[in-house]
């Protein structure tokens, strides 16, 4: 499941809803991304997250489907916000549930890594010098590339 929204979300409520009434889930892994007040070398105030309505939903749904192809998930959820966000605010939530924890951990990490390089969002930071578009990070590209092999896991983590 995926959702793109301006409003905040409640990670605990989302986790509870995803697992409610299910007795076949052994582990639930969640990732919450938050706005930091400093990035490489400077402090930032708020930011505005722009996105491409339509393409965002399509890309997130494809990433979610890919995770479900690669791992035996009982449930998965991506929630991504857009609009103006302040330091400490939640940006993104990824939740994966599986009978065994390995699949839940791997799938959750895959989803956030892929989302970071595929979902059409752009951060405009409010700095003392005015608005500044955040540049994509090489480390995010590297993180995403390690999942490019067709198999579930990127390396010998088994």
């Amino acid at each position: 499941m995926i959702r793109v929204q301006r409003e905040d979300f409640d990670p605990g409520a989302e986790i509870a809803a995803l697992t409610a009434g299910r007795h076949d889930i052994g582990g639930v892994v969640s990732f919450v991304g938050l706005v930091r007040d400093r990035v490489e070398g400077g402090r930032v105030g708020a930011m505005t997250l722009e996105h491409y309505p339509g393409m965002t939903e399509k890309q997130l749904a494809e990433i979610d489907a890919e995770a479900n192809r690669r791992w035996p998930l009982a449930a998965s959820l991506i929630v991504h916000r857009y609009g103006r966000l302040e330091p400490g605010d939640r940006i993104v939530l990824v939740v994966t549930a599986s009978p065994h924890r390995d699949a839940a951990f791997d799938a959750c990490r895959f989803l956030i890594d892929w989302l970071k390089t595929k979902a059409p969002f752009w951060k405009l930071e409010e700095t003392a010098a005015g608005g500044q578009w955040v540049e994509a990070r090489d480390s995010d590209d590297r993180a995403a590339r390690q999942w490019e092999s067709a198999a579930g896991k990127p390396d010998a983590a088994e």
């Binding site: 991304g33 997250l49 722009e50 996105h51 491409y52 339509g54 393409m55 399509k58 890309q59 991504h80 940006i91 993104v92 956030i112 989302l115 970071k116 390089t117 595929k118 979902a119 059409p120 969002f121 752009w122 951060k123 405009l124 578009w133 955040v134 540049e135 994509a136 990070r137 995010d140």
Partner: protein, 83 residues
């Protein structure tokens, strides 16, 4: 044809959307880019360094050699920074 610009490409161009009739002889993204560059300095600046520009057609990532059809929705934007 709808052409969309996001993030700093939109800032440089000054607006986020154009409606364009694909001129005769243009049949791929690269051709559209050259057509747009000629529309003014903002376009030229936004589309100078294609290494930093991503393209989507109908919500899917494509390369600059992707063939265009009338009615396609084309979007230009920088590498994404969400999450």
């Amino acid at each position: 044809m709808k052409v969309l610009y996001f993030a700093w490409l939109r800032t440089h161009i000054g607006h986020g959307e154009d409606r364009i009739d694909l001129p005769a002889g243009i049949n791929d993204v690269r051709g559209l880019v050259e057509h747009l560059r000629a529309k003014g300095p903002g376009y030229a600046r936004a589309l100078t360094d294609l290494a930093t520009v991503r393209v989507a057609v109908n919500h899917e990532y494509v390369g600059f050699d992707h063939e265009l059809k009338p009615g396609d929705e084309v979007a230009f934007f920088p590498p994404v920074t969400g999450g």
